[in-house]
């Protein structure tokens, strides 16, 4: 079991969800985040003083999947999120030891989906 973490541009979220659905990945968790990376920030000016904002709005997606689903999921996220512009984001993958569905107590592979 793997946990896939993706940071994407907020406005791409719907596209990514769409792409995931097509790959039959229906479960995910989303949080909003701020990111800084290669993408340069912008300037705000407030009462004559200037601030460089380099923590930009991003959306963080977490999807837990079984091994077989890793590649499809990654492809789907890329499909939905890629614009070719700097700031498109990143995907991180690491393994899960366990997954439990609270409602039923099911564990492991069956609990993921």
């Amino acid at each position: 079991m793997k946990l896939i973490i993706a940071y994407i541009q907020p406005e791409r979220l719907n596209a990514v969800k769409q792409a995931l659905y097509e790959k039959e990945v229906f479960r995910m968790s989303v949080t909003n985040a701020l990111g800084c990376g290669q993408q340069k920030g912008y300037h705000e000016t407030y009462r004559g003083a200037d601030v460089e904002v380099n923590l930009l709005k991003k959306v963080r997606i977490e999807v837990a999947v079984n091994e077989g689903f890793v590649e499809p999921t990654v492809e789907a996220i890329i499909k939905g999120a890629r614009t070719g512009k700097i700031g498109d984001g990143k995907i991180f993958i690491h393994s899960l030891d366990e997954c439990i569905r609270i409602r039923t107590g099911e564990r492991g592979k069956d609990a993921i989906g």
């Binding site: 907020p10 406005e11 979220l13 719907n14 909003n32 912008y42 300037h43 705000e44 000016t45 407030y46 709005k57 959306v59």
Partner: protein
């Protein structure tokens, strides 16, 4: 392009004010026209006091518009919308002092009944401060009351073009629309021009103010096109307003202001006339609210609050043309119908994929047209016929819509009127002002 605007705007505004200064200096002395009737100094004072109070009430409508419009749009554009709604009244008042007032109330016409101009700037002689000028108000009260009306006309347009229009370009549009277009066509009726001769009745401005604003709004919405993501392959994707509490504040401020808008249009404190107008106005607002609630409840299954608020305003716009001349019952009917139309209107314009974030079209244009025609139907005064009302409505539409289209089109071809896609996504607050409205608050948005 963008750059050019940056340069252009200050220049333009500077001109406006710059001009104002020397010109106002003349203080063109308008010899007070011999008053129809004479009034005791007490009566004149009380009339003038009432008119000043009415002026304050109309003024606060600007806050109402600001709140309604901002609340019905997204947080990322709030600063920009608030900015427009603060600056436009300022421009409107100065522009009206500079040219508008003397264009709308020229006294005598150059092109009979159509165009007149009493010169730049404002000013009066001593008589302007007495009932010799008018039994209802001084010259100064007259100007201020009318200037506040003008300011509202400009802000109506702002709603329909929100969340995508370039700040600079829109300020230019407003300056022109409120200083030239609005007063010019206004003179046809309130300036005792050709329509007044035909007994066209628009008591407080369903047409002169609201549909004039509405036509501008329609032109703007068409030239700009819809916001990104509003219509996705034929389907309407709602873009939700970020703060319905603000919208509520706005609607109550507008309702309050309308007491002055309609009540003040009696142009004196005549107890019977004014209080009657207040009653019809209030009943229409209430009926509009109920009408919209029922319609939305039936159509949408659950009552949509934003629709109810639109309905309340539509009721007010609807009664504005005939508040003085329809029966109490008629006022309820007019409000009710206007409220129903408001809801249907919002859906109708969405069908046509004309993107109007705040419903300015169904409230001010549809409501204004309906209200003006309603006078022809419900008026207790036989002189106001349906045909003249129709003629009046048409006359204003035929001139204002193309005029607004033209202005927007020219701006589009020159300094551009729509922000870049990137800016629209990031929000106009950052794009136009580099300043967010709600620093510190967390937002979750995928639009």
């Amino acid at each position: 392009m963008y750059k050019r605007k940056k340069a252009l705007m200050p220049a333009l505004a500077l001109m406006l004010v710059g001009l104002a200064v020397p010109v106002l200096a003349e203080e063109v002395a308008v010899p007070a026209v011999a008053a129809v009737a004479k009034a005791s100094v007490e009566m004149f004072t009380i009339n003038n006091t009432w008119m000043m109070v009415a002026t304050f009430l109309v003024f606060i409508m600007n806050l109402g518009f600001a709140m309604v419009e901002t609340g019905l749009c997204r947080a990322k554009n709030a600063t920009n919308i608030l900015f427009k709604n603060t600056v436009i009244p300022a421009i409107g008042i100065l522009g009206f002092a500079l040219v508008g007032f003397n264009l709308m109330y020229p006294g005598k016409f150059i092109i009979p009944g159509i165009l007149g101009f009493a010169g730049f700037g404002i000013g009066t002689d001593a008589a302007g401060m007495t009932s010799a000028y008018n039994i209802g108000y001084t010259y100064w009260t007259d100007f201020l009351f009318q200037a506040m009306f003008a300011a509202t006309a400009a802000t109506i347009v702002s709603g329909a073009v929100a969340e995508r229009v370039k700040l600079g370009s829109f300020l230019v549009f407003s300056a022109i629309y409120v200083s030239l277009v609005y007063p010019f066509v206004g003179s046809w009726t309130w300036g005792l021009g050709w329509l007044s001769k035909l007994n066209f009745h628009d008591f407080a401005g369903s047409t002169l103010v609201h549909s004039v604003g509405g036509w501008g709004a329609l032109a703007g919405a068409l030239v700009l096109g819809p916001r990104i993501g509003k219509y996705v392959n034929g389907k309407v994707k709602p873009i939700m307003g970020h703060n319905l509490s603000m919208v509520t504040i706005g609607v109550f401020m507008l309702w309050l202001g309308w007491f002055g808008f309609n009540g003040g249009s009696v142009l004196s404190a005549d107890p019977g006339k004014v209080s009657f107008v207040l009653v019809t106005t209030t009943l229409a607002a209430a009926a509009g609210t109920i009408g919209a609630m029922l319609t939305s409840w039936l159509i949408q299954k659950k009552p949509d609050f934003t629709m109810v608020l639109n309905g309340c305003l539509a009721g007010l716009v609807g009664i504005t043309a005939g508040a003085d001349t329809v029966s109490v019952t008629a006022s309820v009917i007019i409000g009710l119908v206007a409220g129903i139309l408001a809801v249907l209107g919002v859906m109708f314009f969405d069908k046509l994929q004309i993107d109007d974030p705040v419903g300015a079209l169904s409230v001010h244009l549809v409501g204004g047209v309906f209200g003006t025609l309603a006078v022809g139907v419900f008026s207790t005064n036989p002189d106001y016929t349906f045909m003249t009302q129709l003629l009046g409505v048409a006359a204003y539409g035929i001139f204002c819509f193309p005029a607004a289209l033209l202005i927007f089109w020219i701006l589009k071809k020159t300094i551009g009127i729509r922000v870049s896609e990137e800016e629209e996504l990031k929000g106009l607050d950052i794009g136009e002002h580099g300043q967010e409205a709600y620093a510190g608050f967390q937002f979750f948005t995928n639009s």
